[in-house]
Symmetry: C5
Subunit: 360 residues, 5 copies
Amino acid sequence: MSKNHKKYKKYVQKKAFTSPGTLAYVGKDVPISTVVKLTEFNEESCQIKEVKTTNACQLFPTDNYVSWLDVDGVHEVSVIESIGKHLHLHPLLLEDVLNTEQKPKLEHFGEQNIFMVMKMLQFNENLNEVETEHVALVLGKNYVISFQEMHKSDVFSPIFARLKASVGKTRKGKADYLFYSLCDLVVDNYFVVLEKFSEKLEELEVKIIENPHRNDQTSLYELRRELLFIRKSVLPLRDMFGILTRENSDLIHDHTIIYLRDVYDHILQILETIESYREMIENIQNIYLTSISNKMNSVMKTLTVFTAIFMPLTFIAGIYGMNFDNIPELHHPNGYFYTLGSMVIISIGLWFYFKWKNYV
Amino acid sequence: MSKNHKKYKKYVQKKAFTSPGTLAYVGKDVPISTVVKLTEFNEESCQIKEVKTTNACQLFPTDNYVSWLDVDGVHEVSVIESIGKHLHLHPLLLEDVLNTEQKPKLEHFGEQNIFMVMKMLQFNENLNEVETEHVALVLGKNYVISFQEMHKSDVFSPIFARLKASVGKTRKGKADYLFYSLCDLVVDNYFVVLEKFSEKLEELEVKIIENPHRNDQTSLYELRRELLFIRKSVLPLRDMFGILTRENSDLIHDHTIIYLRDVYDHILQILETIESYREMIENIQNIYLTSISNKMNSVMKTLTVFTAIFMPLTFIAGIYGMNFDNIPELHHPNGYFYTLGSMVIISIGLWFYFKWKNYV
Amino acid sequence: MSKNHKKYKKYVQKKAFTSPGTLAYVGKDVPISTVVKLTEFNEESCQIKEVKTTNACQLFPTDNYVSWLDVDGVHEVSVIESIGKHLHLHPLLLEDVLNTEQKPKLEHFGEQNIFMVMKMLQFNENLNEVETEHVALVLGKNYVISFQEMHKSDVFSPIFARLKASVGKTRKGKADYLFYSLCDLVVDNYFVVLEKFSEKLEELEVKIIENPHRNDQTSLYELRRELLFIRKSVLPLRDMFGILTRENSDLIHDHTIIYLRDVYDHILQILETIESYREMIENIQNIYLTSISNKMNSVMKTLTVFTAIFMPLTFIAGIYGMNFDNIPELHHPNGYFYTLGSMVIISIGLWFYFKWKNYV
Amino acid sequence: MSKNHKKYKKYVQKKAFTSPGTLAYVGKDVPISTVVKLTEFNEESCQIKEVKTTNACQLFPTDNYVSWLDVDGVHEVSVIESIGKHLHLHPLLLEDVLNTEQKPKLEHFGEQNIFMVMKMLQFNENLNEVETEHVALVLGKNYVISFQEMHKSDVFSPIFARLKASVGKTRKGKADYLFYSLCDLVVDNYFVVLEKFSEKLEELEVKIIENPHRNDQTSLYELRRELLFIRKSVLPLRDMFGILTRENSDLIHDHTIIYLRDVYDHILQILETIESYREMIENIQNIYLTSISNKMNSVMKTLTVFTAIFMPLTFIAGIYGMNFDNIPELHHPNGYFYTLGSMVIISIGLWFYFKWKNYV
Amino acid sequence: MSKNHKKYKKYVQKKAFTSPGTLAYVGKDVPISTVVKLTEFNEESCQIKEVKTTNACQLFPTDNYVSWLDVDGVHEVSVIESIGKHLHLHPLLLEDVLNTEQKPKLEHFGEQNIFMVMKMLQFNENLNEVETEHVALVLGKNYVISFQEMHKSDVFSPIFARLKASVGKTRKGKADYLFYSLCDLVVDNYFVVLEKFSEKLEELEVKIIENPHRNDQTSLYELRRELLFIRKSVLPLRDMFGILTRENSDLIHDHTIIYLRDVYDHILQILETIESYREMIENIQNIYLTSISNKMNSVMKTLTVFTAIFMPLTFIAGIYGMNFDNIPELHHPNGYFYTLGSMVIISIGLWFYFKWKNYV
């Protein structure tokens, strides 16, 4: 919680009371400068060049190529601003690009742009937790701009690889197909994250069914929070892609719609999986609680058996420990042994009684 | 869980980062090769022949017959691909045919094809669990193609039997009626699976009401998971058949719509039954939890009765075990017997007290 | 559960794998043969005659009369089939008439027929449980056909009585008003059943609040199942009558719509009552669980008081039962009595301590 | 529950099997006869006269005045019937007027009448519970008829007072404004009832947080039932006024719509308040359950501390109460005192151990 | 609760039975008189003047300027009334302005005015709780009127500052942009309040996970109530802004819509955050309850271990405290030491047994 809240706090501090429409970066501080890669490709050729940040915008878009401007790192406001000016992007669009806390959204800016914010999720093996990355995509007439929070791993590298190698349909497609490929990549990553999640859940499930421990409640709680977090990143996508596949915009061709509907189907599948994990956590929680009660029952039975067997015996011993002048049994030569014998019989009797009552 | 997750993992590994639109089989490895059966029938005649896989597509469709191509096993990508090419099926359609993890979906590919993915459920008596089989149906102008995961049992054999025997309306019907018959068969199977489920649930219910055991929680949990699994397979069908019965496509005649509405009604009935089983599981869970508490109460009462009866007696024995010089009672000739008598009276009194308090 | 499941099983066995569209009776075996009553009435006259089954259909419909064919018992397929043929009823309609497990549904067969399946609920005083009866109604241009499962009591006898006596508007009305009267009768019965239910619930409520017993959990569970069952019979009616009152069909006149809306209102009222009973059961469940915990608390307190009072006393007795050579108190002439006195004081002190702690 | 159920039973007995459309009073028996007040007013004058029941209807409506017929007591069927005949009210409307169990509803009878049934709620200070009163309003072209169950308090007296005093807009308004005023009055009463409810809830909340008692569960349960009852009376109003404000009928002028929308807003506010009370009850229930568990914990700790401290001491006393010939300690001159000393040390040690474990 | 209820009571007392449409202030008594500030600005100039209350309205609106009338304090009915008269505001609008208990709402008064009631939330550090302030906005053709409950802090001061400083777009915008800026300010404040809330929640979460205390239940309950309260203030805004962004009114220009959609997005984000906090509270509640059960288990285990170890030992001591004439062991020279030894062995054995059973 602390991590998310700290991020969140920053957002409030930086933004809440500035004039709306003023550009400001909201997110973690990043030491390195923004990297801008311009890829221009058509079916025949594909050029990828790293451009100087501010001049990047002079070069494209051109009619012959599909241009893809990949901006890695959104912390340098001036870069984003200059790109925005060159392409006449709406100030609110740029604001959302700069705000790494922005929740997923889809917005149409007239006929000119389709704008999408998504969350790239990645499982960090070291921290054993899910990390989120802010990704913003702008689809224009024959260009795509992708903004991503600066990170160790470049999330779009598989697309670069495919473009270079001219494998698959991406090279043959137009800007909207590239746009789809980028969305598809982000959504495919959710499967990977969910798989990691399911592994953790399965592990905990086995542990709780076999031998529940008091820390498992906290682990369950953390899994629940993680799932909540994933769901929050995916849920808005359903409506977004629902709108994308129904609405007709000139920016998206009919034969790309069918691909976007495929992404939409994947999102539904992901949400359903999340829902079923949620229900499973609920059920595991039930098992855990029941097992606590069962344990308590078992402790109580142990206590009862010990108490109920030794109390009568101690009482009998107490009887013959009394100092009355006249206790005839005391003077019987075998009184002691008879007493011990009856004690054994009593304890065996009680034992079978509790056996019958299912206590032992 | 493990089984499903393992399948699931495969999906992610094979597919997640390939270029979208590339064909690849996703599912369990199957040692035998795909079997393709071509059935051509009209009201007068019906021919069923097993065709060599790749040449299968040369033969149909023809105008005089309704053609049904039944592909048993989707693990040979080349076979699927050649069929796809011959009939100009959309690449995404083929992708979904090959992906045995694809959730149920309905898709219209223009006027040409209606495509449906369903899950055939079957109860495996040996493993005492529900098995799922991937079934994909393609409805064309006068043909139906059915794809099924390779399995021991051929799920469509009742239809083959009916076609051969010319029983029922199937022979008289067109491709859309055949399509409906196949859907109906799959949906009817859900009734069988639910019946098996209800038997298991009923058994557990009786067991828990009569004599709850600590393993029953786990059994309940597994039933819940199984129901969740069934529901996941059926739920999308509601919307799919809802759309099928409302939309008008040239591929489905008006008099077939009324039959599809019947299937839709069955699906609603199945979902309602699932919902009521779910509520019953919830209630059984309640009974189970209450019974644990009741048991604990009963254990506590046993403990209390034993303790409360023997404590005073032992105390009295302790009194007369003291070594004071002057304890007058000790020297009374019948002191011992009076003491024993009062002990009996006290214990009887306490017994009735606890009887009255409902402890024994 | 067992009863319903057995019925259900039959359905699956008989129907699941026959060709769709083949007529077959699904339900309990009935020894007597179907009774068909034809009533022809208008404002002036009313004739009720029991017709020979297969010839029944020759006689009606006629233009001068409203005809009502009441078929008591749907187990003789041939009778149903011959009626169906005579009136050109759709095969799927007949299938639903024969299937006594069919859930409530409304279907329009073109302009010709409105078809409705309902569940008649009746409270069986002997078995102390709710029984269900399959009722199917067909509304035609100037006729109504009612099909009912064969039963001891003829459910429509009040209507027959009214028609004969020419009381109320039924005689003056057309076929659609008769249709409404039959629906109204079925829905009115739900009130009676719910009233019986509420009596049972109230009884259990009083019992649980005053003196909860461990069997009450099972009783609650059974009430819940019964309510679930009633709800399942009523719920589909809401949509059905909602559609009936909104849609305009030539078969239903405008001034009958307002009466059907009244039935619709009753159904809403019934569903709301069911919902409130459901919530009450939930709350009674809570009371029950709390009372178990309270009882446990009370048992624990008894145990604690007994233990905490006698332990110190027994300990003191133990002290003076030790055999040390030099225990000065033992030799004090009133040591014994002082000890007894201090024991009394200690136990009174502890008693007040626990009184103050609210344990006794 | 009993009270409501008894009323309800009457409904079923009287109505369920009569011909639909027959008029019959459903409700408590009332000894006094119905009182009918006719108020005719316009901006200039206002006349209120108590009319003889059956002739009441001869007098109005007139064009110059807004007429308001207030019928206090709906148990005299003949009065209601004669009014109905005079104004050509629909039989089903009259049936709902007579049925004091009718749930709130809104119905349009063509262009002629808008008919509304509401529940007037009033808090009975003596019984400390909410009472309900059946109120039915009929809006005609220039008249309003209000029917109310006979009661001690005349619920519409504030409106009479306002009309007489010519305060506010009511006198200037038309029939629809009067209609609105009556609705507004009924809805305003819900605020009063909810306020009383909130007082009771608050009282119980404080009590449960400070010192929960086992009867509080029952009190919570009754509050829940009361809230359920209030909600049932208010919930249908939301849809009713939603329809009133959206639909356009000639009977309601545009500038009255805005006032009705205000009533609609109040109803939303009431429903939201009910919802939040519901959630609060849920939470108080949680607090209560937790406090029971906490109490149990505390009892257990007391028991454990007593047992764990005195058991070892009694054991030591037992050791030196043994009769072995050779127990060296017994002969030590200060053995007794050393033993007592070590007992004190042990008990202090255990005390601090339990203090550290948070048991005391 | 008490505070809110007291406010609420006032509302009922003052309003419930007055004639609808009569103006009356509903809220806390305020000693100071209302302050009215008139700001007139366009891109070139900006004048802010405090106007005498009743004459305020003579001055505006003018065509050249955007006029903003900020009314600080709504307790002086005459001021509100005179403003209302001057601008022909609807009486119901004024009523809602005066009622500080009015829940958030949006209303269109023809083409003339858009009226909005919102709740300004602020976190009071001293009381450690959220305070609410009634804010009403009226948007006219080229003016905005803002009404606010009188408070220490002037909530709109950032806007004043921006207007004076001519920073941001506010000066360049029209009345609708000013309207948007005011809404945006109120919504931004919710982020601040939620952040404070999340801090409190996080604190409690850490506390409960690490060391739950019995007061934590009450703290959780209060957080829940606070969240409920915040939610109640925000929830209606979703629909309000949903309508604002979809409907087209002449009062709001197209390029302002996109800004309002931004506010709408923020509201969605806030509601989602609230929902996730709610779920977190639910989960923390679970952790708390489980920890109570775990504690109880641990107490029981302590009790069981003590009892089960000392009972057998005390019993053995009792055996050799019996006074039989013939107990051979008593006369063995080392009998005492052997006995002590076997006691040690027994207690060690039991210790390891409980260790193995996971009790210690």
